[in-house]
Subunit: 591 residues, 2 copies
């Protein structure tokens, strides 16, 4: 037997017990005549005592050979510590070791196994088996496991059935790029990995499953950013005979339950905000409402002509940063302006108006607007002495996006984005279609299966091009702390309406039939009204733990090149494998 | 609102309640002045009553237009039925309909939505959304969902952590064939889909996760049989600091819990049987021990020379079919012999000895052996009057396999394989390596990471070729009713031993390093002793429900050509997709 107890459970009540422990050597302190060694496992740390005066010399010499991360098995007696450690659950006791067995030696690890380390990602990922020994990483993954179990228990209680949908499906090059899998048995043909189980869950509704969920891997072959992974996990759900309101209530309930169960946080009732309101107040469809600093627009009446930049702008809009007037020197504002002018954001400039504590006003556009005009602005923004306005101008959509970035940055600087505070909301009433100037066609704002609102169905079937831009969908996003946690919609369940949507999205009849014929077919045999949503599970984990990167919640993430650094994948395959698949690699010249 | 109640919940206590129901039209009986319609959903059936004398004519006419599988919403009052149906949970009541809305019409379905149908698989799979409406299919999938939830709850209670391992991994063409996924970002390189998360779960043990599990999709690109699917689901588990005995106890506990919880069946303690015993008594490493009919060998002393077939056979072995002597005419035995001679089994012949009820003996080899010899056989087999011996001979391994088939067939014919009876066992002490005559190399009997038994380690490191054949592994299979439900092993955790195993399996140092370098590396940094197992989840579902095919427990299975008949996958992809992946299709001529 390797152990009678784990390394986290021995207490004073065990004094005198003969125990067997196994684990990793965290480190040793050698005092000459005695040696203390910390033994570690998933459950905790226990101090081992090797005492030259009590144990035999050979054992003591053997103990001296132990290096960091050696795996050992010890037998011994639980004794009371002379100097207790109140910060350790096992800090009252130690083990007087009588027998030591080295189960596996360890070379000196290339990185420290400690909570805080300054290793780069490359080393951490190459030696992920060492990185995963660190407590913060383990705790993230334990949290994830618990969150999945709590999610399943809650949904099962509500009569949801978990159904596994297939991973080898069909390529539908709409939305993101598919990963494809060549078929050996069907030569020249390919499976695709699912970007989501969307059509399958709708088929399950047509099949009468009524309430479906699945915690499921999804795949997108996209260029990767810090918070994107080629494979990621969704909590995927669908319900039949429901209205949007019922979907929102169900998953607000789930979310509230998860926060209570795992974080002991009572979430407030989720406010609802329309897409239009979110865009106009925050310049974002996923506003962080932990803080205010809402957008305020300046109209013609507040902008007497003279400053040509504002005179020609489609939009002049700003935020009021409370108490920041004194914080920002001219140099600071210059730096902030440069930050806004980086290509990632692309603002042309940044106008400030300082409402100094003494009541005076100072502005970068002071020569264009007199104090009366500026005070009018301050009043419109609801500014108090000490506050500072930051104003952008330009093309409407772009300017709002830029101001959103500025608002979030100011929120960070002003300490208004507390990771321990959670402010959820539902963003609703999304547009159904988005006109893409470049490709000159409509894109689905959510996805091609989203239903227009009931009062828009007629307009969608018979309206003209401009009408299409105004259609609103029964689509909704759950946003927490500025992060889109989940989104979904009521789906189309009518064949004619679905066909019309495919038309609008630029599918020919043949393409629609080839890719989604099975769904159109299913709609002819009694498809119920249905809707649902999907949560980004990796992201939900990160947000609940107040962290930014989903990578820290994935056991074996890929890097920005889509590579697993530990196993070194992807990799070349054998010629015989290619031959069996009837494939040839055809690298462009120079590669 | 689409419903106040579902179609399975209304009872006498609801009499007089105004309700809204939605669901599918199962069928109608039109009596002229009134019409009964059964409304169906996942939860049950409720009878709707349209009464011309009470409701208005328009409603009645509208009701007449309803066809099978129409999706409707009705409002009405719960009333008491005149003639109750005690076989239906809702059989005491019906709904007096006051309003009817057709939510979606249905064409006449191409198959019946009933429990028993005689449609072929092709129609069922093409219209899977209709097939999945049938109760037996839904119940299989509901069972599966419950089994997964119970499995997770049990393992989580035992401190197992569920960790998601990656789906995009690396091709290791050992064992079965990999499905591969071309990488766009790493041109000319490929991911592979996991045949199992084997190396990742071992890495998690090296990382100190201690107890891991995952219900996870696995992939094998193999030629398909009725009980194989290209993607299938495992309950995958691994534990650190455990002996084989502890692993068996843990998963015997899980299995016992699942049978109790889902089937209310108390499983007996699982007997242990060595591989050698299983092969000699049953000719199979997955014996069905719901019935006896164990193999009995006839040796030289029972076989006086004269019958040349037996004289030259490596093995003469048979079974005793109780009470079957009178059941088999000469013609029946001829048929049975022909069944054994089919190429799938390949027996040369079949010898019988009938111990007639009157005590006389009749045998197909009566002219070679006198009654005294034959009675000696009967005694050795423990036969009673009325029994019949069935005896095969030939090369040892082949003959045992053939007799295994015969034993199972006789078990079927004699009604000894009751699907409601469950007889589990552990088969243990598997050989470590299997010599393959054809390729002239060793194969891993379980997989390349399996540990030899402790007392065989020295022999494995230093023994000769013949010694290798005799090595036994800490490997084990769980077998229920003749089906291998799961299997696993204690793993190698020592780099040297693992390298030796790769050598024996014919890997060059370079190949071993290229494919499994990360694991060999991990073993150098403190790998603990560990072991685990994996259950075939689809198969566990089928066995627990007394069914043979795993397909009936998979929502969207593939057919024998690996095709999804509903979505028509795999399919050709666009040239642009191929170009982005730097691939060319290179079909052999004639294809």
């Amino acid at each position: 037997m390797y152990r009678t107890h784990n390394c986290g459970e021995l207490r004073m009540e065990h004094l005198g017990t003969e125990v067997v422990l196994s684990g990793w050597v965290q480190g040793s302190r050698d005092l000459g005549f005695m040696m203390y060694t910390d033994l570690r496992d998933r459950y905790g740390l226990t101090q081992l005592l090797f005492n030259e005066q009590i144990t035999d010399k050979d054992l003591f010499e053997q103990a001296r050979t132990l290096g960091r991360e050696f795996v050992i098995r010890v037998e011994g007696t639980v004794i009371e510590r002379q100097s207790k450690n109140p910060n350790m659950p096992t800090g009252d006791i130690e083990i007087q070791v009588s027998k030591l067995e080295i189960l596996n030696a360890s070379k000196v690890p290339p990185m420290l196994i400690e909570d805080e380390i300054d290793e780069g990602d490359d080393i951490r990922m190459k030696y992920r088996y060492l990185d995963l020994r660190r407590k913060p990483v383990q705790q993230n993954l334990f949290f994830r496991s618990k969150l999945a179990i709590a999610t399943r228990a809650y949904l099962a209680d509500q009569d949801f059935i978990e159904v596994e949908t297939p991973v080898l499906i069909k390529s539908t090059p709409e939305g993101a790029r598919d990963f494809v899998v060549p078929s050996r048995m069907n030569k020249g043909q390919f499976y695709a990995l699912p970007q989501s189980p969307q059509t399958f869950k709708q088929i399950l509704m047509v099949a009468g499953f009524d309430k479906y969920f699945q915690i499921v891997k999804c795949f997108r072959d996209e260029d990767l950013r810090a918070d994107r992974q080629p494979e990621f996990t969704q909590i995927d759900c669908e319900m039949s005979f429901v209205t949007q309101e019922q979907v929102l209530e169900t998953f607000e309930g789930l979310t509230r339950h998860l926060f209570k169960k795992l974080k002991n946080v009572d979430l407030p009732k989720f406010p609802r905000m329309t897409y239009d309101e979110a865009m106009s107040k925050y310049g974002s469809d996923k506003p962080d409402i932990r803080f205010g600093m809402e957008f305020v627009e300046l109209g013609k009446e507040e902008l007497p002509e003279g400053f040509v930049v504002f005179d020609n702008a489609e939009l002049v809009v700003g935020i009021c940063a409370e108490g920041q007037a004194a914080e920002y020197s001219n140099k600071d504002i210059k730096k902030l302006t440069e930050w806004m002018q980086r290509p990632q954001i692309g603002a042309k400039g940044l106008v400030y108006v300082k409402y100094n504590a003494d009541g005076s006003v100072k502005s970068s556009v002071g020569k264009f607007y007199n104090d009366e005009v500026l005070k009018g602005w301050l009043e419109k923004f609801g500014a108090k002495p000490g506050d500072m306005l930051l104003i952008l101008s330009g093309e409407e959509e772009k300017t709002r996006k830029q101001l959103n970035e500025l608002r979030l940055e100011m929120g960070n600087r002003m300490g208004l984005r507390n990771p321990e505070e959670f402010k959820p909301l539902w963003v609703v009433d999304f547009p159904l279609l988005e006109w893409d100037e470049e490709s000159e066609r409509f894109h689905a704002m959510h996805h091609p299966f989203t239903s227009p609102k009931a009062h828009d169905v007629e307009r969608m079937l018979n309206g003209d091009h401009e009408t299409m831009k105004a259609l609103r969908a029964d689509a909704y996003d759950m946003v927490i702390n500025g992060v889109e946690i989940g989104g979904g919609s009521i789906r189309i369940h009518d064949r004619e309406l679905q066909s019309r949507n495919f038309d609008l999205l630029g599918f020919t009849k043949e393409e629609a039939q080839a890719q989604f014929g099975f769904l159109l077919g299913a709609f002819e045999y009694g498809a119920p009204p249905h809707g649902g949503l999907a949560f980004g599970f990796d992201r939900l984990c990160a947000v609940m733990c107040g962290q930014n990167s989903i990578r820290d919640f994935i056991a074996f993430p890929k890097n920005n090149q889509g590579r697993d650094m530990m196993i070194e994948a992807p990799s070349p395959i054998h010629d015989e494998q290619l031959e069996e698949l009837c494939l040839k690699i055809n690298l462009p010249e120079g590669d």
